[in-house]
């Protein structure tokens, strides 16, 4: 009981001498339990109840003589119990208003007598006797914080024990009391655990939060939040030390919008209103004048209706922010995208440099200088790029927290930029309502890849020191900004010496504001600056974040304009950069809306087939190649496919398809196979005689080109005439030959797809029979990705329409793997498998 009273019970903080038990839920439950214990004590433990206390428990009672009945000698206001100890002293003595009690039996009786006042009596008793155990059993049993040796002491007494009987009772009594103590403690622990005690840090957070609500405007919920003291002790408290011992953390003056200023004490036990502490002093100002609340917000909610009403709205806004940083960037690699050159796969963790800009900003006032000397050495060529790279790696691991705040700001900034996008788009829309394809809405091809769609920029949490490239690139950007043409060209050339394929450098350029400058240069008249800028943009636009930034800065519009330039270098560089940037839907739309498709198609117009090219003609071919690259990127949107066709791109592509150069053929065939999803293109491919060229290129030794050709045939061979053309051009055999390239899954998927579609014609099935295609296909029924399996099984299903082939499938052991595939879940696969199995099942032999 002693421990419980010292630790769990909540005494008024201003306790000195006799304390007061506060009316709190914890105290109330404590009192009730003690009361229960006392009430039942004499009936449960009659012997122990008779034990005479070492010292009487004395307190100021509200009981009067009239409350006492039998067993008591009443003389006027004074009362004496008839029960006495061995020396004849009465066990209870009342001389109003004080009462003294010597045993538990009398305590029990008092409690019973007091009826509705019993709780008050217990409270008064405990307040007067802060350590009742010591009084009951003697000072040696006084409760000492942190140790409990009472049992040991009791044992000592037992050893010495001459009065065996009395000691035994004493032992029992103390055990009972300790039981009570434990019970009290565990109960109050339950309650306490529900209300976490406040710590200086928690209070500080709360205060910061509240301060942020003191903003002007409609959303304002509080007028002001102030500490009474600006001085903060090292432990985080702002109260004078002599108040800290009472657990008080700080005093606040909060002015709500609708009530008087609130003077608040934050203590470890909770927050409550005080007597109005302004400055230190005024003793009674520290007293509690309200209930204790769990935290500041709860207190304010109950004291200020305005606050209660508005805080919920605020809460929402505050909690809303975090999710943006959780979005992980995942670049989808779907079949449509495969095989594009220059793919830049994103790496996690790379975003560390996002903070750079912040840091640069922070450093601008003066901190920059001290970092510069080392850069000079770098510039003199004393440090090789490799050293720098190593250096940077090691630095990457060093995590510093100093940018944490800056990063937070960045996040907010990013949010803003993302949220501003729709506006930007709509403004584009209004500027060029017509564009190429007429009215533009936001619906795009469903087949189009989403690989690169609007992910919010992700920023990883780890901060690293800035690599040296940052400072060098920052300096170069400064020269770009503040230099004439000569200095600009030098800075551009020097910037190209950095490893622009490295994300560090790509993001460094962005973060120091280089992208804006590079894109602005495109708008100047200086051809050299434009070329130099494009050469850099072309490289760094392989990074998806850079692509996005270029699009956001309006770079695509400018580059589309450059396509009109008479300078061929500018043309092909702009086209190649567009090819990189237009990897996401919004960019593709922008290109189209600004007339880019038409201009890109115009670039295709060159004479590729003459044997000996002049220097100028070679440049024309390069321009056409880059134009095709850009169209390839753009052709992933349905509307762009349409726009290419309308701009007359198909005959030009057909002409380029005769080029002997693989680097020209890949983007051309890539575009064609992308567009072959449209019927108009399939017809054109057939009628413009492109099948022949596609078949011819199946025989080349470039897997990527072969894949695009096979893929184009796959898409086009839905049409019977095309299937016949493939056969007539002797395209079936190279397809079967390509089946041996089982390691290249993309190529295999395209090839098997072409074979499947070609097999729809029975003449072709006969050819495949000659080339023993089915035997090979059966071998591909196991351990293949689903996109291959679908095509293989499809081809087998078509082949199995011929009885001879059904036998072949059986002989090659194809039945079992086919049946096994029936357990799959891929719908397209199941459709084909059931068809193939169904065809095979028509042969009786196959059923055994």
């Amino acid at each position: 009981m002693g421990v419980a009273l010292t630790r769990a019970a909540q005494w008024t903080t201003a306790s000195s001498g006799t304390g007061k038990l506060e009316i709190t839920p914890v105290n109330e439950s404590l009192l009730k339990e003690i009361l229960e214990f006392v009430e039942q004590f004499s009936s449960r433990h009659p012997q122990e109840a008779k034990h005479v206390f070492k010292e009487p428990l004395q307190w100021t009672t509200s009981l009067e003589a009239s409350d006492f009945k039998t067993e008591y000698d009443i003389s006027g206001p004074a009362v004496k119990s008839q029960e006495t100890d061995r020396d004849g002293h009465p066990m209870l003595q009342l001389t109003p208003p004080s009462i003294s009690v010597h045993s538990f039996s009398q305590l029990s009786k008092i409690v019973q007598l007091a009826t509705d006042k019993k709780l008050k009596e217990v409270r008064a008793c405990l307040e007067a006797n802060r350590d009742p155990v010591a009084k009951m059993l003697g000072p040696s049993f006084a409760t000492v914080e942190g140790e409990d040796s009472s049992v040991l002491r009791l044992l000592e007494e037992v050893k010495e024990g001459d009065q065996a009987k009395e000691t035994e009772i004493k032992v029992k009594l103390i055990i009972l009391l300790q039981q009570l103590d434990t019970q009290l403690l565990s109960n109050s622990l339950k309650q306490i655990s529900q209300e976490v005690r406040l710590s200086p840090a928690a209070v500080k957070n709360d205060v910061e939060l509240l301060k942020s609500f003191c903003s002007e405007g409609e959303k304002r919920v509080l007028t002001s939040v102030q500490y009474t003291s600006d001085y903060e002790f090292t432990n985080g408290c702002r109260t004078p030390p002599w108040r800290q011992v009472h657990g008080e953390i700080c005093y606040l003056v909060i002015k709500p919008c609708d009530t008087q200023p609130l003077h608040i004490t934050c203590s470890t036990a909770g927050v409550f209103l005080n007597g109005g502490i302004r400055q230190e002093g005024e003793e009674n100002a520290y007293d509690r004048t309200s209930d204790v609340y769990r935290d500041l917000v709860t207190l304010l909610k109950s004291k200020s209706p305005h606050f209660a009403e508005n805080i919920n709205k605020q809460d929402f806004a505050v909690q809303e922010e975090p999710p943006t940083q959780k979005v992980q960037h995942v670049e989808l690699v779907d079949a449509e995208e495969q095989g594009q050159p220059q793919r830049s796969y994103e790496h996690q963790e790379k975003n560390v440099h996002e903070k750079a800009r912040q840091q640069l900003v922070q450093n601008k006032p003066g901190g920059k200088k001290k970092l510069e000397p080392s850069l000079k050495w770098k510039n003199l060529g004393l440090a090789s790029p490799y050293d720098e790279a190593d250096d940077k790696k090691s630095k990457k691991n060093a995590v510093s927290e100093k940018f944490a705040e800056a990063q937070e700001k960045m996040q907010k900034k990013a949010d803003v930029s993302v949220s501003s996008l729709p506006g930007r788009q709509s403004s584009n829309k209004t500027k060029t309502p017509g564009g190429v394809g007429g009215a533009d809405d936001f619906s795009e091809s469903s087949s189009e890849s989403e690989e690169d769609e609007e992910q919010p920029e992700r920023r990883t949490e780890s901060n690293t020191d800035l690599p040296s490239e940052y400072w060098q690139i920052q300096k170069l950007v400064k020269y770009l900004k503040g230099g004439n043409q000569t200095a600009t060209v030098i800075a551009l050339c020097s910037m190209r010496d950095f490893n622009l394929a490295q994300e560090t450098c790509q993001l460094a350029i962005r973060d120091v504001g280089g992208l804006e400058v590079l894109i602005n240069l495109l708008d100047t008249e200086e051809i050299k600056c434009k070329i130099g800028s494009l050469k850099i943009l072309k490289e760094i636009s392989r990074n998806s974040q850079i692509r996005r930034a270029i699009a956001d800065l309006g770079g695509l519009q400018t580059m589309v304009k450059i396509l009109d330039s008479p300078d061929k270098d500018l043309k092909y560089l702009a086209a190649e950069t567009i090819a990189n940037v237009a990897k996401f839907r919004r960019a593709r739309r922008t290109v189209r809306q600004h007339g880019g498709i038409m201009r890109l198609v115009e670039l295709l117009d060159c004479v590729p087939d003459s044997a000996a090219l002049t220097e100028e003609q070679e440049k024309d071919v390069e321009v056409a190649r880059c134009g095709a690259l850009a169209l390839w990127s753009c052709s992933k949107s349905t509307r762009n496919k349409e726009a290419i066709r309308k701009a007359g791109g198909i005959p030009l592509l057909a002409r380029l398809l005769k080029s002997p150069h693989e680097n020209m053929l890949i983007p051309v065939v890539g575009t064609l196979q992308e567009c072959a999803s449209e019927r108009s293109y399939r017809i054109a491919i057939q009628t413009e005689g492109m099948i022949e060229d596609l078949v011819k290129n199946l025989n080349c030794d470039n897997h990527e080109l072969q894949m695009h050709c096979a893929s184009a045939i796959f898409k086009c061979a839905e049409d019977k005439r095309t299937r016949d053309l493939v056969r007539q051009c002797e395209g079936l055999q190279p397809l079967v030959t390509l089946l041996s390239q089982a390691d290249n899954k993309q190529l295999l998927a395209a090839t098997t797809g072409a074979i499947w579609k070609c097999s729809i014609s029975m003449e072709n099935v006969a050819k495949f029979q000659d080339y023993k295609a089915l035997e090979t296909l059966v071998g591909l029924l196991t351990d293949q990705p689903e996109e291959v399996l679908v095509n293989v099984v499809g081809a087998l299903g078509e082949g199995a329409q011929k009885p001879a082939n059904r036998a072949t499938i059986r002989k090659c052991g194809g039945i079992q793997p086919l049946v096994n595939l029936l357990t799959g879940t891929n719908q397209a696969l199941l459709v084909n498998v059931t068809k193939a199995v169904g065809a095979c099942a028509t042969e009786l032999e196959n059923m055994t």
Binding site: G381, G482, C493
Partner: protein, 209 residues
């Protein structure tokens, strides 16, 4: 007067014929046009001092007005490059020769020409000091900076790092040539001394008219 102009025309045609044989890139008609242009620019002066040609001031005016050059020092150097015999006048022959590089020069010819322009003291090397001299106006000076030349110095170091392949802290012709071949943009690394493509096209139009 008519007689004189007829004689003049005859003279010009002869001159054009000889020069077009001596100088690459221009045919006889083009040479003739350029001679006329030259004579036109010479104006009154031709009566008094025939044979001397364009002086520095006139030449600089042409560079400024026709070819859009602005840097005084570079224009002086261009004048020097045109004035091969160092007599402070650009003669008809020098004019045609110069323009053939200016307007029609191959990359090799242009590299040679630019190097000559940039090699201020003619010692066969572009030194650090020469670079500094040529680049000193290329950056906007920030009044806040302690050393306003710091940026220029840094720019010189950047250029050296990029172009000085033999690491002797100066650019030889070989250094310059290699750097420009690797990156054509560096042809006019130290200041505009050639008309840009746009002007070249305009000049063609002017001539044909």
């Amino acid at each position: 007067m008519a007689e004189m102009s007829a004689m003049n025309r005859k003279l010009i045609q002869n001159l054009a014929e000889t020069l077009s044989k001596q100088v690459k890139h221009f045919n006889k008609t083009e040479a003739e046009c350029l001679i006329r242009l030259f004579n036109g620019l010479l104006g009154d002066q031709s009566d008094r001092r025939v044979g001397n040609g364009l002086d520095r001031g006139k030449f600089r005016n042409i560079l400024h007005n026709t070819f859009g050059m602005t840097d005084d020092m570079i224009m002086d150097r261009v004048f020097r490059a045109f004035d091969k015999d160092n007599d402070s006048y650009v003669s008809v022959k020098e004019w045609i020769e110069g323009l053939s590089i200016f307007l029609r020069g191959t990359l090799d010819e242009k590299i040679k020409y630019c190097f000559d322009v940039y090699d201020l003291n003619g010692d066969g090397y572009i030194s650090r000091e020469e670079m500094f001299h040529m680049l000193k106006n290329s950056l906007i000076r920030q009044p806040t900076e302690e050393d306003p030349d710091e940026g220029i110095k840094d720019l010189v170091e950047i250029t050296l790092k990029k172009m000085d392949h033999d690491h002797d802290s100066r650019l030889s012709y070989a250094d310059f040539e290699k750097a420009v071949r690797d990156e054509n943009l560096l042809l006019e690394a130290f200041g505009t001394c050639l008309p840009d493509a746009k002007v070249t096209i305009e000049v063609k139009i002017v001539k044909t008219v």
